[in-house]
């Protein structure tokens, strides 16, 4: 019988632009914060997993943490880097190979949109020359189609972004801390219809780390949050992803987020209706809308009324992205998945300060990214 797994420590670096600081330094800040939070020392950690998309190798952090000789595996899994690192740490505990494991993710992206190379995605150079290697196009096409099919309004997209900035203003660690009105968001420059500049997250900077342990160690440390379930999935046939030269199959595209969420809930033995607070990938505000349905929190189209009624606000029925999400914190690719877990752990412990949800018992995290990968967790106190 394998042990249960608990989160005993969660730490973040500052998020947002930090000139003169390297991604590795942000990772070290996060690891040290997570260890302090857990009441552990680096020498207690028995196995580690981590990575960044473009800010260096996680296993080099031992040069500054201490050369303790533990196995430290680098993870490079796009937007799921943090989620995959956490999954590996969780499996190390479950297997009995370690009792204390660390997952860390970090990044430090330059200003502006990502500039992917067609060759890295198996596409001819012509796609780049024609202006099709632009990540934001995918999000625009997906939500535009979804809005037409399910009656989601442009106003809803603006309200979701408005919530992100409002929650960010309550989060001392957020990058964007200024409230922006839905009217201003809707009136901002159009990037890719129907998404305006203020509806998108920006590539950013930050590090996040999570310490997981066996039940026995968690009982000794206290303040533990139980990990009820976790799952990482890659896309199945018929999915629609960024930089796809085509979408194969007919009918509604498959959703890797739906697969990962269903697997995490099945492992946890609870369902979406049991969740009190959630973190959903909000690369742009349309993504949060669609992920509500893909992760099982509502039926397609119900988001229009949910958002209008404030159900996803901090005081609502299902608070979503209480820390401001990617829109207010930016998107350091390697860190985002673990930032989400940090926020849910903070909420479940009742330590979220001004943005605290009233007595949440069960929380959920969902990260999604290219080229069709998703990681979800279900956490509880």
């Amino acid at each position: 019988m394998s042990t249960g797994v608990s989160v005993v420590g969660a730490g973040l670096s500052r998020f947002g632009r930090q000139p003169g600081r390297t991604g590795r330094e942000l990772a070290l800040d996060a690891v040290n914060a997570a260890l302090i939070d857990a009441g552990l020392a680096w020498t207690d950690v028995q196995v580690a997993f981590g990575g960044s998309d473009g800010a260096g190798l996680a296993d080099t952090l031992v040069a500054d943490l201490g050369l303790t000789g533990i196995p430290f595996t680098n993870v490079k899994n796009g937007c799921a880097t943090g989620g995959s690192a956490l999954m590996s740490a969780v499996n190390a505990i479950r297997s009995g190979s370690a009792e204390i494991a660390l997952a860390v993710g970090f990044d430090k992206h330059p200003r502006g949109a990502f500039d992917p190379r067609p060759e890295d995605w198996g596409l001819p150079a012509a796609y780049g020359e024609a202006g099709l290697m632009v990540t934001t196009q995918f999000f625009g096409i997906k939500i535009a189609r979804y809005m037409r099919e399910h009656g989601i309004s442009e106003r809803t997209l603006a309200l979701v972004a408005e919530k992100a900035y409002r929650n960010g203003a309550l989060n001392p660690n957020a990058w964007r801390r200024e409230v922006i009105s839905a009217d201003e968001i809707a009136a901002a420059d159009m990037v890719n219809d129907p998404l305006t500049r203020f509806m998108f997250c920006s590539p950013g900077e930050g590090g996040a780390a999570i310490v997981v342990t066996s039940d026995a160690v968690a009982a000794r440390l206290g303040r533990a949050v139980r990990l009820l379930g976790a799952a990482v999935r890659t896309r199945r046939f018929g999915s629609f992803e960024v930089f796809s030269p085509s979408i194969q199959g007919t009918g509604v595209p498959s959703s890797v987020s739906a697969d990962a969420a269903a697997a995490a809930f099945a492992a946890a033995g609870v369902g979406p209706a049991d969740v009190d607070v959630a973190q959903l990938q909000d690369t742009e505000s349309g993504a949060e809308v669609m992920h509500l349905a893909e992760c099982g929190f509502c039926k397609d189209g119900e988001q229009e009324a949910m958002v209008a009624a404030g159900e996803t606000e901090i005081g609502g029925r299902l608070p979503v992205n209480t820390d401001g999400g990617c829109i207010a914190n930016g998107e350091p690719i390697g860190a985002s998945g673990l930032r989400q877990v940090h926020e849910i752990v903070t909420q479940l412990r009742g330590e979220a300060g001004e943005r605290q949800v009233a007595s949440p018992r069960i929380g959920f995290t969902h990260v999604y990214g290219a080229p069709g990968v998703s990681a979800c967790t279900v956490l509880a106190v």
Partner: protein, 126 residues
């Protein structure tokens, strides 16, 4: 050149792919036949590229950047192909608009009937 798109069909499960597949994404089958895809389809979804993409890799047209539409065209063979979409007004592309293949290279490009009739082109270089 390029007045039809070349795709493939899996000899095991008949899944259609574009560009031609080495292995089938649906069944894993390794044997595909090359097929010509239909040149007329409907706009499954689209957006408008409102800002000039980063250059390189983007190559601006001779007259400078103008916003252009990009989306997926659903073809009768059962595959949706990413394409630049020519139109006289972006609103023409809404609601399952029918479009016709203009060129397959360097990337697929389709046009609405009005764009074809008026020879109006928006967007990236052909």
């Amino acid at each position: 050149m390029g007045r039809s798109l070349t795709g493939s069909r899996c000899l095991h499960c008949a899944t259609v792919a574009f560009p031609p597949a080495r292995g089938c994404q649906s069944c894993g089958g390794s044997t595909q036949e090359t097929i010509a895809l239909g040149s007329r389809g409907t706009v499954w979804g689209f957006t408008v590229q409102r800002f000039a993409p980063k250059s390189p890799p983007y190559v601006e047209p001779a007259g400078g950047f103008v916003p252009f539409a990009v989306g997926y065209v659903e073809l009768p063979e059962g595959v949706k192909v990413e394409a630049v979409l020519d139109c006289t007004d972006f609103a023409e592309l809404a609601g399952d608009a029918e479009v016709t293949l203009v060129t397959a290279h360097p990337v697929p490009r389709f046009a609405t009937d009005r764009a074809l009739a008026g020879s109006v082109r928006t967007g990236a270089p052909t």
